[in-house]
């Protein structure tokens, strides 16, 4: 079935609230077939969000087992082999199946077309294919648990030669490779869709420099996906050939180069860090201005910072390989340190937005602030690691584990900011604030209690990927604190589930624009009708919905939104 979208039936409406009365009538398939055949970006976005959050819960459950094993120096809860499988599957599920898909295909899929006034993604069927590939990848990865010989156990980075047919026999590792191929293609298609949608389907008047920051970040994320993921997929094909077709690309015997895997993996892997992070930067950049009742401080600086981060992330991959002794240390060190500059600009702008604003501490805002703080901790410890002398000392210790968990847990906190902020748009109902705040405090404090002992343990010399530490019983106290933090994080997840149930049983209707927000998604109904908009407001700044509902602060009628900003200053 095809719908021809004509813009003149989306006429500019003059009086408030008349949009969204008559829903597009649709005679399509129903039930399961409706779900299988949907190419609506909103359905696909929800599919992605739900699947990836389930993967977050699964990955989190594995993490709790890891932390339970580490409570005593000689614990025997799991065997050494099982421990290897646990951290491998934990890392793989979290990175490949939760963080990435949630970030660039979940809420983004739902919100980007809405934010730019588009009826759908540019290639709706490709978008649906992305999801099915991702689901296939998820199933392959999880099938690994049922494989004879167990799932992959060579770490989420799959370094050669651990992945060779001799060292990692069996179907578990092949399922891991297959899962990554499927999710890799799915990511590439999402990237294509994001870029094409943002280039071609913006509403009239929505110039690039009036796009919401979230949409900007998704554009840059899409470009980074196109840069990085093909390299990973190529490396996986090469790895598969090594394992099954007798090539020796990554194997020393036969003339291959194991370190080539590391180059290719991290050429994807570091940009991947920003593919994960930029969407969440974007989310909190939507949340913070709305709950500070101010426009974004330094809009152009924010866009510039996003682009700089993405561009620099091209030249930093081997900071993960300092200790191989085979990479250009000064080059990668300087490039990595430079990334701190645009990241600092972002932190500065978020604080500047809150500064002297009328900050309203909703759950969403708390999560956004929690994101900024936690990401800052991860970023600062990253600066240490970018310096080779310090990295030689801390490489492969718990310092590194703590560093990247500050970063990824910041992403989890940012994800919650997005869910509490946009949930009302997606469902039409708000989540409960009380449970939301309880969840926030457990998640936020739990994260710090979980990571801080890690930094310390790392400096004491505790290596990562060790199931026991019998020679260093004094490390137990710090490990136990870390486990307490992990349990708090687990409890916060429980609060989240309770909140979903409570909000479902006792719904709080949200209305179309519950937060008096800025971007176009708040102009249509909650949830939006099929193909999104029955009417569009004129776009005269980067906050068209806010302008529409606040005619007393007219945005300038001409191009420069920065001066427009100055004149539409709201509060104080």
């Amino acid at each position: 079935m095809t719908d021809l979208i004509e813009r003149h039936d989306i006429e500019s409406s003059d009086d408030h609230g008349d949009h969204g009365v008559s829903h597009h009538d649709h005679h399509g398939p129903s039930g399961l077939l409706k779900w299988l055949t949907s190419t609506d970006h909103k359905v696909i976005g929800i599919n992605y969000t739900v699947t990836s959050v389930l993967m977050l819960i699964l990955g989190g459950a594995l993490a709790e087992i890891i932390r339970a094993q580490l409570v005593s120096p000689t614990s025997t809860l799991v065997s050494f082999a099982q421990y290897n499988q646990l951290f491998t599957m934990h890392g793989s599920i979290m990175i490949y199946l939760f963080a990435g898909p949630f970030a660039f295909a979940g809420l983004a899929n739902y919100m980007v077309p809405l934010q730019i006034g588009a009826p759908d993604m540019a290639f709706p069927r490709l978008n649906a294919l992305s999801y099915w590939l991702y689901l296939g990848g998820t199933i392959s990865m999880v099938l690994g648990f049922f494989a004879t010989g167990g799932p992959a156990a060579f770490g989420w980075v799959g370094y050669a030669p651990l992945t060779s047919a001799v060292n990692a026999p069996g179907v578990g590792p092949d399922l891991w490779i297959g899962a990554l191929m499927l999710t890799g293609f799915s990511a590439i298609f999402s990237g294509v869709n994001l870029v094409a949608t943002i280039f071609y389907l913006r509403a009239p008047g929505m110039t690039l420099f009036r796009m919401p920051i979230f949409t900007w970040n998704m554009l840059v994320t899409g470009l980074l996906i196109l840069l990085a993921f093909p390299v990973l997929t190529a490396a996986l094909v090469m790895l598969y050939c090594d394992r099954h077709f007798g090539t020796h690309i990554f194997e020393v015997q036969g003339g291959g180069v194991p370190i080539l895997w590391q180059h290719m993996f991290w050429f994807w892997g570091h940009p991947e860090v920003y593919i994960l992070a930029l969407p969440f930067f974007g989310m909190v950049s939507e949340v913070i201005p709305v709950f500070s009742k101010k426009p974004m401080f330094g809009y152009k600086g924010m866009v510039f910072a996003t682009m700089t981060i993405a561009a620099l992330s091209l030249g930093v991959w081997a900071h993960h390989m300092f200790t191989t002794g085979a990479v250009l240390l000064p080059f990668f060190s300087i490039m990595s340190l430079l990334i701190a500059v645009p990241t600092g600009i972002k932190i500065f702008n978020w604080i500047g937005t809150m500064w002297k604003g009328q900050v309203e501490y909703t759950s969403s805002m708390l999560f956004a602030i929690g994101f900024v703080i936690t990401f800052l901790i991860g970023g600062i410890t990253g600066i240490y690691l970018a310096s080779p002398p310090l990295d030689f000392f801390t490489h492969d210790t718990y310092f590194v584990v703590a560093h990247f968990h500050s970063v990824v847990m910041a992403l989890v906190i940012g994800a919650m900011a997005g869910i509490y902020f946009w949930g009302p748009k997606i469902t039409g109902y708000k989540l409960h604030e009380g449970w939301g705040k309880a969840q926030f405090w457990f998640l936020f404090i739990g994260t710090q209690v979980f990571t801080f002992p890690g930094y310390w343990l790392g400096l004491k010399g505790m290596a990562r990927r060790m199931a026991v530490y019998p020679n260093n019983p004094s490390w137990q106290t710090l490990n136990d604190w870390s486990t307490i933090g992990a349990i708090m994080i687990g409890i916060s997840t429980l609060f989240f589930i309770i909140n979903l149930l409570v909000s479902w049983r006792k719904p709080i209707p949200a209305g179309d624009n519950p937060w008096d927000a800025n971007a176009l998604e708040w102009f249509t109904t909650s949830p939006p009708p099929h193909h999104n908009f029955l009417s569009l407001p004129p776009v005269r700044s980067e906050r068209p919905t806010w302008d529409y509902y606040h005619p007393e602060h007219p945005a300038l009628g001409h191009g420069d939104h920065v001066s427009g900003h100055a004149e539409q200053k709201v509060s104080n």
Partner: protein, 132 residues
């Protein structure tokens, strides 16, 4: 039309070129060099293509003009599919491909059948439904 868009991509390609040049002449390392050439192409190929179209058509789309009104954007946006089973069929086919890589070549039979069915089905669907 697509002017700023093309500038972003070209700037990205040039930046990758600078990094690539420094890396290559300083580090003499092949794999990174090759991948950075890929990055240059990723920026320049679509960027120059867009630039070419911008120079040829010159005009501005309503979404490029800060003063465009909703009426300026009137007309057909595009035809959008509202439902289609073929992405699911194609996705399942790819899933069987991967299972074939893992469990044995015979799984290519369902894999290939599904992929072919999806190619034919989706093409026919596009014909029927206009430009999808």
């Amino acid at each position: 039309m697509l002017k700023q868009e093309s500038y972003i991509l070209i700037a990205f390609g040039i930046f990758a070129g600078i990094i690539g040049a420094v890396y290559w002449f300083w580090g003499h390392e092949d794999s990174g060099g090759v991948m950075l050439v890929g990055a240059i192409l990723l920026g320049l190929m679509p960027g120059l293509y867009y630039y070419y179209w911008y120079r040829r058509s010159g005009g501005q789309r309503p979404e490029d003009r800060p003063d465009a009104t909703v009426a300026d954007g009137a007309g057909t946006v595009d035809a959008f599919p509202s439902t289609s089973i073929w992405p699911f069929v194609l996705g399942s086919g790819c899933f069987f491909f991967v299972l074939a890589l893992v469990f044995g070549i015979w799984l290519l039979v369902p894999g290939l059948s599904l992929v072919l069915a999806a190619f034919i089905g989706a093409t026919a669907e596009s014909r029927r439904g206009g430009s999808v």
